[in-house]
């Protein structure tokens, strides 16, 4: 079983309580000025976006085969069996490949620090591990953000659509996107209208590189034999030529 978040844009009133809860859980400053920033950054790990009269949340999608965990050269990012994708700042060397590779542009960097870290939502791994709700779900006054088991949340989302088909765009974002995410979205309108990326592949991205990296042992073994063989042949030719040279 894996934990997930269901965000229902139709229930969200844009109160930004989730932002405040998140800032508190991370010990980050939060005031009106920061609340007005509608973009995630190293000091704001979730953001409520306004799209006309509708709202949407930005946070880490914690999908099944995370791109960030796959690209990280030091394995500082890991997908836990509990569901969240967690980050070990002690390993990170700051190559920022995770920022570059994330299709949702979630990881952010402490650009102005001398000893910077990457920052992103970790779906309150510690809290969930202790059986608590994520900070954002706990403070949400309308139930727009709900925390629970992915299967149950998925069933609930389907039920909501079935009960009020007129109120929802009939799909759930995150079922198939990049191989299935742990943050699911419901919306009244097509997802691109609330700022979600609909051009992401429906397969897990790490496969794209693994297809090539997987060939490494083949390239090394075949290459050694081939190059060694070529050297052996050409070198022998040279030796023969040197020996026969004076006789001519």
């Amino acid at each position: 079983m894996s934990r997930a978040i269901l965000y229902d844009s139709t229930l969200c009133i844009g109160c930004k309580a989730c932002e405040g809860g998140c800032a508190e859980r991370w010990g980050l400053p939060y005031d009106d000025k920061i609340a007005a920033e509608e973009r995630i950054s190293a000091h704001k790990l979730t953001a409520v976006e306004t799209h006309g009269e509708r709202y949407s949340r930005r946070l880490c999608m914690h999908y099944a085969e995370p791109t960030c965990a796959s690209v990280c050269p030091v394995g500082a990012l890991q997908k836990t069996s509990l569901g969240p994708v967690v980050y070990d700042a002690e390993k990170c060397m700051g190559c920022r490949y995770c920022l570059q590779a994330c299709p949702f542009q979630v990881p952010t960097y402490e650009w102005n620090k001398r000893l910077p870290k990457m920052r992103k939502c970790d779906m309150c791994y510690e809290r969930q591990n202790q059986g608590k709700q994520t900070a954002c779900a706990e403070v949400c006054p309308t139930g727009a953000t709900k925390n629970g088991e992915r299967d149950q949340l998925l069933a609930e989302a389907r039920q909501r659509i079935a009960e009020k088909p007129g109120q929802y765009y009939g799909k759930i974002y995150g079922v198939k996107e990049v191989g299935g995410t742990s943050v699911l979205f419901l919306s009244a309108v097509p997802f691109e209208q609330i700022g979600l990326r609909t051009n992401v592949p429906m397969e897990a991205l790490p496969d794209l590189t693994w297809r090539v990296l997987d060939l490494t042992p083949d390239i090394v073994s075949t290459g050694s034999v081939l190059l060694g063989g070529i050297w052996w042949i050409t070198n022998r030719r040279g030796e023969v030529a040197r020996k026969e040279g004076p006789r001519k």
Partner: protein, 389 residues
Amino acid sequence: MKLKLPKITVWRAIFAVILLSGLYATCLRVLYGLGGATNLSDRFPWGLWIGFDVLCGVGLAAGGFTLVAIVHIFNIERYKPILRPAILTAFLGYSLVVVALLYDLGRPDRIWHPLIMWNPHSVMFEVAWCVTLYTTVLFLEFIPVVFEKFGWHKPLGWIHNISVPLMIAGVLLSTLHQSSLGSLYLIVPEKLYPLWYSPILPLLFYISAIAVGLSMTIFESWHSSRAFGRALELPLLASMARVLAVLMSAYLWIRFLDLAHQHAFPLLLRNRTETWLFALEIALMAVPTALLYQRKVRMSPGALYACAVMVLFGFIANRLNVAVTGMEAGSGAHYIPKWTEVAVTLSIVGAGFAIFRVIAQYFPIFEAHSQQHAPRKMAETEADSVAVG
């Protein structure tokens, strides 16, 4: 002995200005972090230092493994006179890439982390290992020059004993990471502009690296012949230019096929920055390729040099297009490097030229092999128009 101040020339003055600005930029980088020294952002995390210093730097150093393969594995000995400068370029190139990484990494003090904290699924992990190992290989391939200079025959023998496996390892490591620099971008299909994104990016990076390695060899031979008043190995360079022309033709043809398979041609009709920079990149590669098919061009030092430079710029345009131009629209960000980024990059390039010059002056980089090939013999081969040029 009279103490003499170095003569002030225009080039030396420019070099000094670049180094001083680089030094100042370094202070800013250390004091104010990446945010203070670069125009990078969350949406555009890789800029000039990755796009130029790393992607181009590693590519421009590809002449090392290409010539080692030609001379020692394929045993085409007549290229030997240009092998050492190519190895020196490669060794310096890789060392400077590591220096550039120290600027670019958020935590340069942890540059060694990938060596003990493994993630074999990461292309970056593979690149880190290959670059570390290959820089070591290059060091070992270069160090005989130092041993020769001081007449240390014993260590020279040790290196000689392991030279064949060393060279094979060098070629393999280069093959892996030159292509892997392209693989780095396989994971951003929705961000990289379709004129550059391709599932065969690793192959394209590999072929173009070999081509630019050859161009770089022509480039540095031309410059060193002027700097040290040596005779230019024209017949050698001309026959290498032949290989370059064929390689570039194959590369351009594969690019064309790839764009066709991806149905990317309609994109060329759009009036966008991407289209024009793509056209520039292709022109910089296609024009010298076409020219190099003419014997007249190959046998004229000036024209040959101009073609090599065009290929170098075409290659740099390609890498910068992949790293910067192609990533802007998909990332929703606009990036122009800050002056500090440019200053550091120019300083690194300048330092590369200066160190090369100093080493070439004091160590047997050029003379060792040209002594073996008597000038008379060179003249003979030059006249033999069927074999060369």
